[in-house]
Amino acid sequence: MTTNPISQPGFSEHRSPVRGSVTPHKSGLVPVRSNGNNGTAKLTLKNLSLTYKANGSSRLLALDGIDLKVKPGEFLCIVGPSGCGKSTLLHVIAGLQQPTAGHVLVDDNLMDGPGTDRILIFQELGLFPWLTVSENVEFGMKMKGIARAERQEKVQYYLRLVHLAQFKDSYIHQLSGGMRQRVALARALATEPDVLLMDEPFAALDAQTRDLLHDELERIWAETGRTIVFVTHNVREAVRLGDRVALFTFRPGRIKREYKVDLPRPRHLEDVTVAKSAREILDDLREEINKSLEAEYAGEVLKR
């Protein structure tokens, strides 16, 4: 049983065009090439590059020629080494950061600036300390001009969803790290955007709460047909949730490889099939990190 509205037979791998098989890979992963198809895409990233000014005159290439299409209703997970540019990419898609080159299309229209159709859950959360929990959750709806009564109903619904109904009148500083993360989640969900951009939204949650929220997120996604771009450092989580997983290279951030996850839903984090698929991606990730570590230390190995 799959709740994924889009189902595409296998494609070849992204960078090194080795043809994959059409039947599901034995691990449940199918390497895909997202650029190959010409259907309407919800998000199209064309040759995105972004350079940061680092200290002094030196520059840091954070994103390097990212080409990516996300179909309407697709659940795309992005994994990659720490500092590879995942958050940067989400900022760019959200319209909060200007790419140095390339551009982003939303529904085939050139995107300029942020919009309530794309809501980002920041890695740093970005909750407003001057608002209570429920006011924070309400914020996006208020900006969208939703009526008060409806807002409050939704606030209640989403706060319950993240198990924080009791804390609706608390201020942010009165919450634990994991509770804050859930407020940010509720705030983004409550705004009900077409595209949800989630930057490690479950990183601070305990295993059980996270599992529950996985289920909820998957349910909402299936029910509403929302497009989700989900950044995580937990490969298993990526396999658990995604239709597709994109693996980033170390630095500069490029898409090293993409995987179509062809496992039936509902999946579970502890499923053997999920674990197996995750291990495959993890191997690629490991290779990537080792390569870059070697590069970083110019062949010098960390003593241990």
Binding site: P129, G140, M143, Y171, R187
Partner: protein
Amino acid sequence: MKKFMRHAIFYSVLIGIWALLAKLKVWPPYVFPSPQGVVESLAAGFADHSFWIAIGVSMKRMLLGYSLSVLLGMVLGLGVASNKFLEETMGGLLVSLQSLPSICWLPLAVLWFGLTEKAILFVVVMGSLLSVTIAMETGRQQMPKIYGMAGRNLGARGFRLFWHVLLPASLPYIISGLKQGWAFAWRSLISGEMIFVSLGLGQLLMMGRDLNDMSQVIAVMILIIAIGYIVDGLVFRTIERRLQQKWGLAPAT
């Protein structure tokens, strides 16, 4: 209770030192009056109602002028914040315009408003207006980027972004501006009340100085300090405390 005791001790010691210095006649009493002298001045001033009138008149002007300059200062701050052109041109002038002494505004005040309350208000407003704007601009410049980003991400734009995000996010800065603005407003009021004899505390202060009546000068100073103390406690401390509670900020120890 203990806090009250500490306060009592602090002020008693201050007044004690003062009384001692006056008693020792380190300086002639004309220029360095004793606490008794000042208390007598205070008593006399209150007895013949001149202090009550002065406080009433000056407080009315302060409230009006200060509120007006806070309001206008914020609007200007919004303008400078939201308009790149204004920011470039006005932004760099804020500090220098604020440093113009009130005496510069007196001729304009008389020219535009005649010898009216409005002229005095104008001087007060010109004197403290930009103080609030400076604080707002600093707040906006020094505010963590994430708030603006989160606000825009959630669909806040233009005035709504300002009102719902930028303003509350820079409130901790604005408080400092409000306090400084209060100080500027008082000082400007005193200047403004020199345009013509207009019954306020500024008038009393200047009279005291003109007559070299230090008891009166110090009595008025005490009135100004007392009013400031009350306003600080009622307004600024309250805002600060609420902010600290909301934001979970706390005085570091």
